[in-house]
Amino acid sequence: MAARRLLAGALLLAALCADVREAAAQTSADLFNDQALQRIDLYVNTRDWYWLRALPESSDYYPANMKWNGTTLTNVGIRLRGSGSRSTTKPALRVDFDRYDAGRTFLGLSAISLRNNVQDPSGVRELLTMKTYRAMGLKAPRMAPAALYINNAYFGFYTLTEEIDEAFLASVFGESSGYLFEYRWSSYYYFGYLGSALAPYAALWAPRTRTTESQGSLYQPVEAMIRSINDASGENFVAAVSQYTDLNVFMRLVAVQAAIAEADGLLGSWAVNNHFLYRLNGRTLHDFIPWDASSSLHALDYPLHVGHDENVLMRRALTVPSLTSLYYDTLVATANLFDQADGAGGAGQAAPGILDLHVAFDEALEEIAGGTDDGDDRTQRERLKRRKRRVEPDEDHEENRADDAPRKPLPRLLR
């Protein structure tokens, strides 16, 4: 299995790099066409670009123009994103199309992310993982490799990422009026029941839509789901839990995560993490949407059964034969997907462009990071601390996204 993972990753990467071309049509599918290196140009006032990079803790927005595939979108808002991936040398960026013009979309999208890949040295883990989810029929954001240019100068190799927002919900669920939550990692959690009070659930899942609704409206169904996961009797488990989540989807998702060696997913080394939860309007059924796969393809020998015992939902689901079969069938199907990629891929055709650029840039980053703590930098930091917060506050509270969660301790499996 491990060898297959490695091979699959290599082949998919090769296939990915084999077709570097410019997209011609103007659809979101073209923007997220992962068979092309998408060139994204951002034009930013040099003062704004300086302060964006000088204030690593800030999520202030700055105005910019974005150009892609011959189309220039004026007056977008950009800001730093990420926590573990937060970098001022190679900043991860969120690009909001509707920051200054409410309701504006670009190709049906209200925002995109430019992930800096600093937690993914290969630059393709997330892209391959999300592609695998989608190939297996699961709902996952689209990604594409991107060359980011700032003010006409090449800046770095990034991963263009679809945001999990109303636009995404509308495209995959056909509606976006439900309740979207983003999981916020704070400690190891395995779907254990946290009691009838709703605050502990609110601490774990932050609302991203319908944010002004009461805690009861938001979290009563979540509490009921966790309660049923924990309290439903053995014979009633499937019926009880199925009111709140599709167990088949859950089993397929964790199976794909196991196949792709996702170390920080629903069952990874850090317990439950990196997902969105979506509840359709007027219903109690919750969908898991994977997010942030920078720890996928984690290791050749990464165990297949990580979290199976600790995670209550997984442990109980595995007592149901049909779900167990589904899990292993999906595992095999994912492996077969790798085989198909092996057959279809263009091994040996890897264009040097993407990796060369990325490696060169990362080497430069390491050199820069090697000797930063000199007096000038200290002076600079002091000066930055004195700077007033002036630019618009982040009204969306986006800094609380899951990948902005506190830095995690070394996983137990690695300690």
């Binding site: 920051r99 013009d101 600079q380």
Partner: protein, 467 residues
């Protein structure tokens, strides 16, 4: 809302009825000769313009006395060598709004609370010092004017930058509770500087040319930008202003009360440091309809045109002002240029106003009731109306759609159109009551103070006591 205004207005009026008796402690007020002067003379304009257009005036009777005299105001005089007049102004207003989005209902607010002195030392030196005990309490006017010749005078200190007819009109001679939106937003107000000025041809031509330390007190405070490495601090540059007015009918044989038609123009130039420092638009209703959202840097210019005419009982005035704030290097760039200049932010506004004294007094030089209340009459009553518009947008016609981005080439503009009807009751020489109803309409209500409201209405009743 209207009923409460009326009640409070009546209450204020009752208070006013007692004012004349209290005010006449000194000698019975003689007719102030200044009221017969044309528009723009001492009583018609405030301190800054006073020095430009008028000499210290005193009634002939009072001028003959030395020591303390009451000549419609407390005064100390010693022949032609020294004169010191006390001056005071107290205002308060009861105001209500529709929609009442704050839930405040009818509220009372103090307006100007100013006290000071003005006068002359010999016939060559004039002075004024006025302090405002207001929330932003500070010296309002503090200047000396040296006038060796009527056509060649020099004034130094703090006073109004010579721009804008209504801005230069003192609060006692305004026809409405509030100045027009364009005067409020686009004129500079007071600053510290030096100004050469004078008048020639029987006051048919007046001019003023001055240099000032900044762009005046009227624009909101400047926002400072944080410097990037190796950047030098930016400071506000000096401004300069020029103004000229012509009263062509003064050269004709028309009677004085008809010949004061005055037309003029003014220009200012200031250097404004980088920041969100453009001029902004405020509603009478309260709150902005065009806020300081956009980065600017570089020159701010203003051009103003004006006309005023007091014709017997009637008075007409109109102004047109255009301001432009440069945005040098504030763009986000494109394939060929980094940090490009952006189109200027342009403020453009005008008003047309008229007033009619229905009790028959002349408007020339201000309204002075022939028969004050409790002195055999009811005072003087005047009706007034004004229509105005103030708009902000990017200058020119930028190709891109309008946006709220602080570096948008095409800013999301807005405009405020307003009409005002008013009644002014001049109880006596010192006290007056003004009632205004103002209806404002915003081009884009979403950017205004009450996003759901297509029109904003304000009712205000203001009392004013001053000498």
């Amino acid at each position: 809302m209207r009923a409460s205004n009326a009640i409070i207005g009546a209450f204020a009026a009752a208070l006013f009825a007692a004012t004349p008796a209290a005010a006449q402690i000194g000698p019975a007020p003689a007719l102030d000769p200044s009221v017969s002067l044309p528009a723009g003379s001492r009583l018609h304009v405030d301190a800054g313009l006073l020095a430009v257009f008028g000499a210290p005036l005193a009634s002939a009777a009072a001028a003959k006395k030395d020591g303390f005299v009451w000549d419609n105001r407390p005064s100390i005089r010693y022949g032609d060598w020294f004169q010191l007049d006390g001056k005071a102004l107290l205002e308060g207003a009861v105001e209500s709004h529709d929609p009442d989005d704050t839930g405040d209902g009818t509220s009372f607010e103090w307006g100007r609370r100013r006290f000071g002195v003005q006068g002359s030392v010999t016939k060559y030196v004039e002075y004024e010092a006025t302090y405002g005990w207001e929330p932003d309490g500070l010296w309002r006017d503090l200047y000396v004017n040296v006038r060796p010749l009527a056509y060649a005078q020099v004034q130094g200190g703090r006073f109004k930058i010579p721009f804008g007819y209504e801005r230069l009109t003192g609060p006692r001679n305004l026809d409405f509770v509030y100045r027009s939106r364009v005067s409020d937003a686009l004129t500079p107000g007071r600053s510290v500087g030096v100004m050469a000025h004078g008048r020639v041809f029987k006051r048919a031509l007046r001019y003023a040319l001055g240099v000032f330390e900044d762009d005046g007190e009227q624009p909101p405070d400047l926002e400072s930008m944080d410097m990037v490495p190796d950047e030098q601090p930016q400071e506000q540059g000096r401004s300069w202003a020029a103004r000229a007015t012509v009263a062509p009918l003064r050269l004709t044989s028309l009677p004085g009360k008809y010949n004061n038609l005055e037309v003029g123009g003014a220009y200012t130039h200031a250097l404004v440091p980088e920041g969100r420092n453009h001029l902004q638009g405020d509603t009478v209703f309260g709150g902005e309809f065009f806020d300081r959202q956009y980065y600017t840097k570089g020159p701010r210019t203003r051009l103003g045109l004006e006309i005023s005419w007091a014709i017997g009982q009637a008075f007409l005035a109109a102004e047109y002002i255009v301001s432009r704030d440069a945005r040098e290097g504030q763009g986000v760039g494109n394939e060929t240029q980094i940090d490009p200049d952006l189109p200027e932010i342009e403020g453009r506004g005008w008003y047309v106003a008229g007033a009619w004294v229905i009790t028959g007094e002349n408007r020339d030089g201000g309204v002075n009731p022939k028969r004050p209340l409790l002195q055999g009459g009811f005072g003087a009553v005047e009706v007034a109306a004004r229509y105005e518009k103030l708009s902000f947008a990017s200058a020119g016609s930028p190709a891109e759609p309008p946006s709220r981005s602080p570096r948008a080439a095409n800013v999301a503009g807005n405009a405020d159109s307003a009409w005002t009807i008013g009644v002014n009751w001049y109880v006596n020489r010192w006290a007056k009551l003004r009632f205004n109803f103002i209806n404002e309409t915003l081009d884009d209500p979403a950017l205004g103070p009450a996003p759901g409201a297509s029109s904003l209405q304000t009712m205000v009743t203001m009392f004013q006591i001053g000498f």
